[in-house]
């Protein structure tokens, strides 16, 4: 056996454990869910579960609600995180020091506790409502058991990590790039849109992918803070599976959620490949 063949076999053996783990915990469940989702009430295979998903009024509103919450959440997460990261990158002083100390705190608070805290704070008779009442403001908007509550929770859970990601990307943009842009006459807005944003948009895409997948598949916050109807797909899936015992429909919901995440993943991978192509 030649040395090259031996090295090839060794390489495969080294890759095999991680491939097997990936196969067992990712590929296999997806394949089984897909098979399950195609199973109809009489035990045969067809697209009836998917047809139900898109024709049933409640299911359709759940999908639209999920997409609305996800898109609004992701856009807000990216906007707030990017603003925080840019502020921390290009400023110094006490405010920046405080932001640096505080912005990671949500990552260390368990989801259920944070959600409970939000209910206490933003509920109809929560602290915020009571404080405002003291100032004569008697009407308090419905935040908990509404889309707004889920979005606020998503911001709480996702901003720290996304800010950390973007902060690291922004710190990789050298001051010299900005100085040389200023040197040729670029103003603040041009520097942002022509240099800072293009040099960090890939990380922005990574942040968007992580936030999208985290939000679309979230359960705790939508379950505790969301309305009864429509529901986020995670909560709906639990209900279809646990309460209505419709295993096949739950599998179709799960596979559809996976497809949505795959679309996001596709754009992310495509950009990465494009980048590799340019470097090569």
């Amino acid at each position: 056996m030649s040395k090259q063949t031996k090295m090839g076999i060794l390489g495969l053996l080294l890759v095999l454990p991680s491939f097997l783990v990936l196969f067992v915990i990712v590929v296999l469940p997806i394949a089984l869910s897909f098979k399950e989702s195609l199973t109809n009430a009489s035990g045969g295979y067809d697209l009836s579960n998917y047809i139900y998903l898109f024709t049933n009024k409640l299911m359709r509103s759940n999908i639209i609600f999920t997409l609305e919450v996800t898109i609004i959440s992701v856009l807000l997460i990216l906007a707030i995180s990017y603003a925080l990261a840019v502020y921390m990158r290009f400023n110094n002083g006490a405010v920046v020091q405080w932001i640096r100390r505080l912005y990671m705190i949500p990552m260390f608070i368990p989801g259920v506790i944070a959600t409970y805290g939000l209910i206490q704070l933003l509920g109809n008779h929560g602290w915020a409502a009571r404080i405002l009442y003291q100032f004569g403001i008697e009407s308090f908007p419905r935040i908990i058991f509404d889309m707004k509550g889920i979005i606020i929770a998503n911001l709480w859970f996702n901003i720290p990590f996304t800010t950390m990601l973007l902060g690291s990307a922004l710190s990789a943009v050298p001051n010299s790039v900005i100085e040389s842009a200023k040197d040729v006459g670029a103003g603040t807005i041009q520097i942002f849109f022509k240099f800072i944003l293009p040099l960090t948009y890939k990380t922005l895409l990574v942040g968007a992918t992580f936030a999208f997948m985290g939000v679309i598949g979230s359960f705790t916050a939508p379950f505790l803070l969301g309305p009864n109807a429509p529901q986020m797909l995670g909560v709906s899936m639990e209900q279809v599976f646990g309460v209505f015992q419709q295993k096949q429909l739950a599998a179709a919901l799960a596979f559809f959620t996976f497809l949505l995440c795959s679309i996001m993943g596709f754009f992310y991978i495509r950009e990465m490949i494009k980048d590799e192509g340019v470097k090569a």
């Binding site: 010299s176 200023k182 040729v184 022509k194």
Partner: protein
């Protein structure tokens, strides 16, 4: 001649204590002036203050007789070539070059023509669509120079632009820069810590040390007549011997040397290695013993122990060291000496 750049009593102090104090300098139109000094001497501080990247504590900077002190970098009539090239990695060579021109609202056809001409000048025609990562270090630096040239600045600032290049490329780039300067007639302020670089490209050199100017003169003058002990030490190779002024002459052992500055007390005598003469006759000279002979291509460096007066080096043509050997007793005298107060 017109003064293109005037630095007046510029002072900038950092918390660490470094910085520059009371720097004044006039640069003529079309001149290539080099700020030369060791790390931390303040040369980059002066350059960055001219470019607007640093705000001085006091003093003024005038370009074409107008103060630019209040103008931000983007509004100053300067362009800078940075040490690390600073090409924008996400833009092609064309976009890197065109960016500044687009900001100046130049027509597309004019931009195309200007870029085509400048790429020809830096011998990189055909590289318009390449990304900086696809160019070598020397090519990237040429593009960085071209980007600055395209803006037609009143003063071009160059911050150690060749320090990241290898020795051969550095040498080539110096020649190219000098050629570009003579073709364009641009006023250039060049920062380097490399004395050879400064001597080879400058019209005048500003020797800086510890935040102040030691000397401003032509390369030849700085080499032949350094004003201060630091300038003598920093530019070229130099031997130093301790002497005492007696009866108006500098004495080392029994030998007398000229006291051109009329100093008194303890002094330091500076002698270029090429001015150190070796002989073995009866003439007056400092006695010494040859410690090493190093042949360095077309010349040789001979180290001589002056018996209690230190070791000095002499540069000799290679054919003149054939008769010399290590341990040989010789006499030493100097064709030219410079005298400085001992610090």
């Amino acid at each position: 001649m017109d003064i293109q750049l005037s630095i007046q009593k510029l002072t900038k102090r950092y918390k660490t204590g470094d910085g520059v104090s009371d720097i004044s300098l006039d640069v003529q139109k079309g001149e290539l002036i080099t700020l030369l000094g060791p790390s931390g001497c303040g040369k980059t501080t002066v350059l960055r203050s001219i470019g607007g990247f640093l705000e001085p504590d006091s003093g003024d900077i005038l370009i074409e007789n107008k103060s630019v002190l209040k103008a931000p970098p983007e509004k100053r009539p300067t362009a800078m070539v940075f040490q690390s090239y600073n090409l924008w990695p996400h833009m092609t060579v064309f976009d890197n070059l065109a960016f500044g021109l687009k900001i100046r609202k130049m027509k597309k056809s004019e931009i195309d023509q200007a870029i085509s001409e400048v790429l020809k000048l830096i011998r990189l025609s055909g590289s318009e669509q390449k990304f900086p990562g696809q160019l070598s270090g020397g090519q990237q630096q040429r593009v960085a120079v071209a980007r600055a040239l395209l803006l037609k600045p009143a003063v071009l600032l160059l911050d150690e632009p060749f320090s990241a290049l290898d020795a051969k490329l550095r040498h080539e780039m110096r020649e190219e820069l000098r050629e570009i300067q003579s073709n364009t007639g641009l006023t250039m302020v060049f920062v380097t810590h490399d004395q050879e670089e400064a001597l080879s490209i400058s019209d005048r050199i500003v020797v800086m040390n510890k935040g102040h100017i030691e000397q401003v003169a032509s390369p030849q003058e700085i080499y032949d007549e350094p004003k201060t002990l630091f300038a003598a030490q920093f530019i070229g190779k130099m031997n130093f011997l301790k002497g005492v002024v007696t009866n108006g002459r500098v004495m080392i052992a029994q030998l007398a040397f000229p006291n051109s500055k009329n100093l008194s007390g303890n002094v330091t005598l500076a002698i270029r290695p090429e001015d150190v003469q070796l002989f073995d006759g009866e003439e007056a000279g400092l006695p010494g013993t040859i410690k090493h002979i190093m042949v360095l291509g077309h010349y040789a460096e001979v180290s001589i122990d002056l018996q209690g007066h230190g070791i000095i080096r002499s540069f000799r043509p290679r054919d003149q060291v054939n008769d010399l050997r290590t341990g040989q007793h010789v006499k030493v005298n100097f064709a030219k000496t410079l005298v400085f107060p001992t610090v």
